[in-house]
């Protein structure tokens, strides 16, 4: 039963107020892409056992999408940030590296 901070409204939202939205920072591939680019974009997932960057929606709240860095083994939340970005904030990355030196970013 997770609690995640919504970076928009500052609410420590409970999981039941949120909707999980899968892997974050997927790059959209449109009509000019190849079959395998499109397949990758739509289906292939990192499904990380460890630190994952993922999307959340504050459904029962401000209605905004945001991103969270979470460990799928311990449920630790390293941080959240607005969805209007194509990569995680640098500060967050270096914080994670400090906490988990063995972590290999962006596999």
């Amino acid at each position: 039963m997770l609690v995640i901070l919504c970076p928009y409204c500052g609410v420590e939202a409970e999981e039941t107020e949120l909707t999980a939205g899968g892997e974050a920072h997927l790059e959209r591939f449109g009509p000019s892409s190849s079959d395998s680019e499109f397949e990758n974009y739509l289906f292939m997932r990192k499904n990380e056992k460890g630190i994952t960057f993922e999307r959340w929606h504050h459904t029962y709240g401000c209605g905004k999408w945001f991103h969270a860095a979470r460990c799928s083994m311990t449920m630790e939340i390293f941080g959240t940030y607005p969805a209007q970005t194509s990569k995680p904030p640098k500060k967050l990355i270096s914080m994670i590296k400090k906490k988990r030196p063995e972590w290999g970013e962006g596999k």
């Binding site: 997770l2 499109f38 289906f43 997932r45 499904n47 056992k49 979470r70 799928s72 596999k107």
Partner: protein, 415 residues
Amino acid sequence: MRKYSVAAIVREALRYNAGWERAWRSPEPKKQYDAVIIGAGGHGLATAYYLGKNHGIKNVAIIEKGWLGGGNTGRNTTIIRSNYLQDSSAAIYEKARSLYETLSQELNYNVMFSPRGVMMLAQTEHEIRGYRRTAHANNLQGVETEFIDPKTVKKLCPIIELSGPRFPVLGALWQPRGGTARHDAVAWGYARACSDMGMDIIQKCEVTDILKSNGKVVGVETTKGVIKTHNLGIIVAGNSSILAEKAGFRLPIESVSLQALVSEPVKPCMDVVVMANTVHGYMSQSDKGEMVIGGGTDGFNNYTQRGSFHHIEETVRALIETFPIISRLKMLRQWGGVVDVTGDRSPIISKTPLEGCFINCGWGTGGFKAIPGSGWAMAETMANGSPSQLASAFSLDRFREGRFIDESVAAGVAH
């Protein structure tokens, strides 16, 4: 292998059971095998069994990081049915179901397959239409199902409340020879038979890397050393993405936690398996008397075998609404399993970009029922190096081609 029988039990009882042999050996791994299977869940063990039995490949190792049968095979709600809609699904699940019918005899191990009947309640007009459609498809696929009216529902399962205030029961899709089996026994029965064929089941041994050379698999690295093989099957359910990554490819899979719970045991009060998809709940009663209840999946990746409690609440609400008498029964235990869910919620039995490496995964929330059929098809695929007829539709390329096998369409869920 010592044959199990009443006579053997009596004989042993008289000498305080001193003579029973091990059900399976626990050998140290050899250096090389003709085939190696990663994952001693039901699917891995069944694959090994049919490799030996159907294809004569017996120099096989099954490598398990924990204890055999301890993955989802050991934690599922044991529903067996084959009333699927799409041809490819109906074919493999019905193959599995029919193998289940005689599995106890074949393995000389009572897996307690109990064809008590599975009913899927229709609680909206839309669901009625969906299930009628499935009944029609099943009729053509040779899967015995029928659409039954509320009266029959009540007769088969008297504890159902037909006129719930929210979603009355309007009928059901009924598969009389669907049912349940003793999940652990399925793994144990296959394991015993594999061991008896000379296969090595190596427990407490984790595969840590997949060794390749020139685009071909040559072996695996494990916590008990390197094991060589040119024929590798990855059959690790919730851990599929991790091993695929080691093999050098990605999968259309997400690992999420699926939960279940059991009530305290009570005397028999429910003789069939009931699934109520509109309200999201399913339940059956085990031979020991617990009500076995399946919950929902988390929406996020989760490798913990725990889940969020609100899924349990939602499920229990739905079931009390459907079976009001259970309100005063108590939950005895709840748990979770890490299930591997694909982009179209159908499984993958396939060759992979790595030559000699095959994968069987994506059974998600509903692969227990498929174990014998999946093992059969996977063994054939591994033995021939190309997909078997039963497996061909479940290949990895279907996602690229847009050739999905979507079962959710007819108001179905996948347990």
